[in-house]
């Protein structure tokens, strides 16, 4: 089994656990700041919440934010990237300049604005991240599409009278799957970290769990229990690492002719 498959399996297993085992609503109170034990394998925090359940709850909202972000960015990035590559030069110009403008927006400041205007809910945050992360995907897909369009079999398809829709669906999308997956992995991992960073500075959804907020709260009681900040911090490292491994382009056999 390759490292990539292992990473995918671990991620799937972890997120499945989050969806199945994380309770909805406020976690019940036990004794505060209990170190890890049999009853509470990861200990309890300063309000007596079980750290394991809190981690799973936060994992679920992290998955929600990163998943929605990635979906939004994929749709926009695919449309803009492929559209720019096969559309008229003017459309290419407009879409790519738009992508540059969006990519230069300060997400942190926008998140403050969105939280002030519409409330800092997880959905708003996911939409904001999705609407600002698609340029990365659009650029990758535009370059890949342009390279594909120069291939001879596609020139042959055009010559045989294929419609743009046929070319896009039958030839481009299947060949774009690998860069698409890699790009989606980058967006997903970035969204996990972005959500945590925003929650760490207090801009996340206060009603949803968040590893970033758990780290921030753990810092406030750092001297009283290492387990309060260590687990959520470790989760962030682990998940973004696994996502990076899972989304890496498949290794090619050394003999593949170039």
């Amino acid at each position: 089994m390759t490292a990539r498959r292992l990473a995918v399996l671990l991620l799937l297993a972890f997120y499945a656990a989050c969806l199945v085992f994380a309770p909805a609503g406020a976690l019940p109170a036990h004794a505060a700041l209990l170190p890890p034990s049999l009853a509470h394998p990861l200990g309890t925090d300063e309000l007596g919440r079980d750290m394991l359940l809190a981690l799973l709850q936060a994992g679920r909202s992290s998955l929600l934010v990163a998943g929605v972000t990635t979906a939004v960015a994929l749709v926009l990035g695919l449309g803009a990237g492929v559209g720019a590559a096969i559309g008229p030069p003017l459309l290419d110009e407009v879409l790519m300049r738009l992508a540059e403008i969006v990519a230069s927006l300060p997400v942190l400041l926008l998140a403050v604005l969105v939280a002030a205007l519409f409330g800092g809910s997880a959905w708003n945050l996911a939409l904001l991240l999705g609407l600002t992360r698609w340029p990365l995907l659009a650029r990758i897909l535009r370059a890949e599409t342009q390279a594909l369009l120069a291939r001879e079999y596609l020139r042959a398809a055009w010559a045989l009278g294929a419609t743009p829709g046929h070319v896009a669906l039958r030839h481009l999308v299947p060949n774009l799957a690998a860069p698409l997956l890699a790009g989606a992995g980058i967006v997903f991992g970035g969204a996990v970290l972005a959500e945590a960073a925003l929650a760490f500075v207090g801009l996340g959804d206060p009603d949803a769990g968040s590893w970033g907020r758990m780290v921030a709260q753990g810092f406030a009681v750092m001297g009283l229990g290492w387990w309060v900040w260590l687990w959520p911090a470790a989760m962030l490292v682990l998940v973004s690492g696994l996502v990076a491994v899972a989304a890496a382009p498949p290794e090619q056999p050394a003999s593949t002719p170039r």
Binding site: A29, A32, E46, P206, F219, A220, G223
Partner: protein, 517 residues
């Protein structure tokens, strides 16, 4: 003369103890959370500014640890029998840091041109009560009042009403006055230098009017915004004193060469009570049954232990226990925690559980700094079938949302009662205080009886008679529950064991401090 009652308080305690026993000299480094900007405490109530400026200036009175007025720039004072005039006798021989003598004109100009116009708390709390300020010779000044204002003396210390030099401010625009950046005061320390976002240095005022004080040669206020960094700097010896330490940090500092002092007051606030306010204009929080159920359903002892880390007390009454003469012990005793009773009250209040077990979903508006309080409320309200949606916002946005637009169900506010209910309690319960003034009557509570009792207490002079009126009002408040008074939160200051006698309850924190080695 039994028909004429004179209240006369004279200089007593502060000058009494000779200062010879403690060593002199040395530097103390004090951390402040932000750059003060300028150093004119009469035109701003910003925390970092007052943390520094409190050592440069004096008030007419000083407040001791219990909040009792003591002589400072005023040697003594006489309250007229009708309560409508207070005459202060000023301390002779006091000199400003530039050598000019301090006189009654400084007091008059300071109030008329600076404090009553530009200092937010003086403008809100003093200006409506003061009709005129008149000098009577160079060393006496009389405050003429529109109505008796028994809290006056407690609003005249260096944080609430610092006195600035008239010879530098008369006839100028105080906001652009260069003396804001090179302040001249009467205080125990004089200004030396200010490097923006780095530090402010003050030096010993050798001509200070209290002989032998201050004992330290130098005060350095180092600007360290992050609380964790402040604590680490204290442990590493880079900083000697933190005027305010968060509860979990205090727990971490215990037993590590640091003296921890808990007080009910700090510069700019005293007798603070973490309070849950209900928007009585809305149906669900306006439902008395819901408020009673919350009073029974919340475990406030647990909030004290887990959120305040034991620093403070469970609130026993609507007026904080630090104002002992007005506090009604046990006023909230009927509301002991009982989740089953809380659920019964919610059923009776026609707030049945829906299919998902929820009775109501309420929003709660608060500062981001109170996140842990709203987390524990969320945790404790879940078994009652009440879900919370937190809306965290900064002070300006919260003032708009809660007090101007009244767009909230619940709000968490730390209401500092001050040293007199007139200062910090009237504003949260009197019907005249409903409206667009930040941190006034958030609940929108109207009760003619309570209004009348507060008005009566304000018109009396003696603490005993006033206290009786306040206690009667508290019985009504504890029944009506426009607020839920959760926990009286204390302030904690920390300094290295090599120092002693800091006074964290006042703005003048280092007047008596000394260094042993």
């Amino acid at each position: 003369m039994p028909s004429r009652r004179l209240a006369c308080l004279l200089a007593a305690t502060l000058l009494a103890a000779p200062a010879a026993a403690q060593p002199r000299g040395g530097t103390a480094v004090i951390a402040v959370a932000g750059d003060p900007g300028h150093l004119n405490p009469a035109i701003s109530t910003a925390g970092p500014l007052h943390a520094v400026a409190g050592s440069l200036f004096n008030g007419l009175v000083a407040l001791d640890e219990a909040g009792t007025p003591q002589p400072d720039l005023a040697e003594g004072w006489i309250v007229a029998p009708d309560g409508l005039a207070v005459t202060f006798r000023l301390r002779p021989g006091v000199r400003w840091h530039d050598g000019r003598p301090f006189t009654a004109e400084d007091v008059q100009v300071g109030f008329d041109r600076l404090l009553l116009r530009h200092h937010a708390r003086a403008r809100a709390g003093l200006a409506p009560a003061i009709a005129a300020i008149e000098t009577e010779g160079p060393l006496a000044v009389t405050f003429r009042l529109r109505r008796p204002h028994p809290a006056l003396l407690r609003q005249l210390d260096v944080s609430e009403a610092p006195i600035l030099p008239a010879h530098l401010f008369a006839g100028t625009d105080p906001v652009t006055n260069p003396a804001n950046l090179r302040p001249v005061g009467t205080g125990p320390f004089r200004f030396d230098s200010h490097r923006r976002d780095d530090q402010v240095v003050l030096l010993r005022n050798a001509d200070y009017f209290r002989p032998g004080l201050p004992r330290l040669d130098r005060l350095v206020f180092r600007i360290i915004p992050d609380a964790n960094t402040q604590v680490n700097a204290l442990l590493a010896g880079e900083v000697d004193m933190l005027a305010r330490v968060a509860p979990p940090d205090a727990a971490r500092l215990r037993g590590r060469g640091v003296t921890l002092t808990e007080t009910r007051s700090a510069a700019g606030g005293s007798n603070c009570v973490m309070t849950l306010g209900f928007n009585l204009d809305r149906a669900v929080p306006g439902n008395a049954g819901l408020r009673e159920a919350l009073a029974r359903g919340l475990d406030r002892q647990r909030m004290l232990d887990q959120v305040a880390f034991g620093q403070g007390r469970v609130a026993e009454a609507p007026i904080a226990s630090g104002i002992a003469w007005a506090h009604q012990p046990g006023a909230l005793a009927t509301w002991s925690p009982d989740v089953a009773d809380a659920n019964r009250r919610l059923d009776a209040a026609e707030l049945p559980r829906g299919g998902d077990g929820l009775r109501a979903s309420l929003d709660i508006v608060h500062f981001p700094a109170f996140a842990r309080w709203s987390e524990i409320l969320r945790q404790q309200l879940a078994p009652l079938g009440i879900a919370l949606r937190a809306r965290m916002m900064d002070p300006a946005a919260l003032a708009q949302t809660v007090f101007a637009r009244r767009d909230f169900d619940l709000t968490l506010v730390s209401y500092c009662n001050g040293t007199d209910p007139e200062i910090g309690v009237r504003r949260m319960v009197h019907s005249a205080a409903i409206g667009n003034v930040p941190f006034s009557n958030a609940a929108g509570y109207r009760n003619a009886e309570v209004d009348a009792m507060f008005d009566r207490a304000a018109s009396l002079q003696e603490d005993a008679a006033r206290g009786a009126a306040y206690r009667a009002a508290q019985a009504i408040l504890a029944r009506d529950l426009p607020y839920l008074w959760l926990v009286e939160t204390d302030f904690t200051a920390a300094w290295r064991d090599s120092f002693a006698d800091f006074a964290p309850w006042t703005g003048q924190v280092a007047e008596r401090a000394w260094r042993s080695r």
